[in-house]
């Protein structure tokens, strides 16, 4: 019923994230919920600041992963579940936040400014803005440290999990480069053609603009721009 995810682009995160899909759903769900619970133990202020939003659903959609997450706010720690392109969710989310995994984790840790990511369209938000804003503001104050949460969640296995996270955020950068290199190699010819076309379209647009301006002159609409 739900088709709110578009396919992720080819990226390092996607390639390395593919094993996530191989995890049995209950196992993944268990790890996710454990992480969220640990998070709430470390940052009790966050669920407190979000008390007014109990019952609402938020889709967290890392654009470069093959899975997304539905966060359901409650009076206590939020519940979290994974959804994929082929996995169905029971309820439509009240809001969704879509962006690259690296941007979303940086946002979670307060290392980047959410508004700035949004203005530059690195983040795409749909639905209930108040919910998104409340979550952002609550998280921003919490000074989240993902590595610490992993330590709480995975106990003895934490070093392994941390390494995996580092791979996901840092290692992926290298992988990203490789993949995108590969991608460029494959698509280079197409790319060139597209660039040629786009420059021609640009020229035609400029000509049309010029013609319109001449038609209007001495018309008063110099400052305005058409939206069509």
């Amino acid at each position: 019923m739900l088709d709110f995810r578009s396919p992720p682009p080819l990226s390092g995160a996607l390639v390395a994230g593919l094993p996530l899909r191989l995890l049995p759903t209950p196992t993944l769900a268990w790890f996710l919920q454990r992480s969220v619970d640990a998070f709430c133990r470390l940052h009790p202020g966050v669920p407190e600041r979000l008390a007014d939003y109990a019952g609402r659903h938020l889709l967290l959609d890392p654009s470069d992963l093959p899975v997304a997450f539905i966060l359901t706010l409650t009076n206590g720690p939020p519940r979290i579940a994974a959804v994929g392109q082929d996995r169905q969710s029971h309820e439509a989310p009240d809001a969704s936040v879509r962006g690259a995994l690296a941007d979303l984790t940086a946002l979670l840790e307060g290392e980047v400014d959410g508004d700035a990511l949004f203005f530059s369209r690195h983040l795409q938000i749909t639905g209930d803005m108040e919910l998104v804003l409340a979550l952002r503001n609550a998280l921003d104050d919490a000074r989240v440290d993902l590595r610490q949460i992993i330590g709480e969640t995975f106990g003895h296995a934490a070093p392994l999990a941390r390494a995996a996270l580092d791979a996901a955020l840092g290692g992926y950068t290298r992988l990203d480069r490789d993949v995108s290199l590969l991608g460029r190699a494959v698509t280079a010819a197409t790319h060139e053609r597209l660039e040629r076309q786009s420059s021609e379209i640009g020229k035609l647009r400029a000509e049309i603009r010029e013609l319109r301006t001449q038609r209007r002159r001495p018309g008063p609409q110099r400052r305005q721009e058409d939206v069509s």
Binding site: A116, F118, F119, S120, D128, V132, N137, D140, D141
Partner: protein
Amino acid sequence: MNLPGLELVCPAGTPAALEAAVDAGADTVYLGFRDCTNARNFPGLNFSRKELEAAVAYAHPRGSKVYLAINSFPQAGNEGPWRQAVDDAAGLGVDAIIVSDIGVLDYAAQSHPDLRRHLSVQASAAHPLALAYYHRNFGITRAVLPRVLTVPQIKEIAAEAPVETEVFVYGGMCPMAEGRCALSSYATGRSPNTAGVCSPASHVRYVPEGGRVQVRLGDFTINRFESGEPSGYPTLCKGRFKARGHASYLFEDPVSLDARPLIPELAAAGVKALKIEGRQRGRAYIAQVVSALREAVEEAAAGRAPEPTSLAALSEGGRSTGGAYRKDWR
């Protein structure tokens, strides 16, 4: 020139942001309580009484001051929360309160004459006579000037006003006379004056339309973006509308104010304090912007023209403007 006296007044929406601002060189941090008494009553934002106490305890030993904004307008029959905020500000040792309502100012002047009172930009006092009114009647010692004035007008006000002046140098632009705008409540039923919010997030919807995104505020479409097109806050006055058959950003483009190059001129005009907008922004933004502004103030104090480092990535629409300070804004 009186440059070393320039005070940098920085925003904080959370305790973490306050610490970031102090650490980055804020002379003063301004903030609000987590309720309707201030004009940034946003979800998940602002300070409890306990958090304000901790904020003062963090700022004062590090040489920074704390101002409390009590700058929305009490609703008839419910002035209690605003008076309580004034009382608590005095009790918790903030350095000044920033107020816009005549009734709240009157209360503060009578009940806590020793608590410094600044006039909020929400009072929209744009002429020396208006400042004289608030000074004479309620003993304000400083006024935050509206963002619609030109530098020559600021100069004139600073020269004639019986109080210190503070002006915005960085952050969101408000093209209307602040505190006198009902555009938000016309579309959503809630405004800065009635609810401490403008174009509240609860009434904003981003609706995907194929490759485009439609921005709805209440029942009205206030913009439509191509995917990938830089955007700004979903604020009514920064929406795209049609007039005379043409769509445009009629009121204001999605840009942020960046008046760093004008700091020497503002200082020469007699301005006492420079203000950064953005209590709703994250601590990463606060740290970066406060450092950059601190640097600009130091440069100006050393007699050099500030050479702004790029903060464009943090701005609405990825662009900035000199705003009303720029001659052609009007």
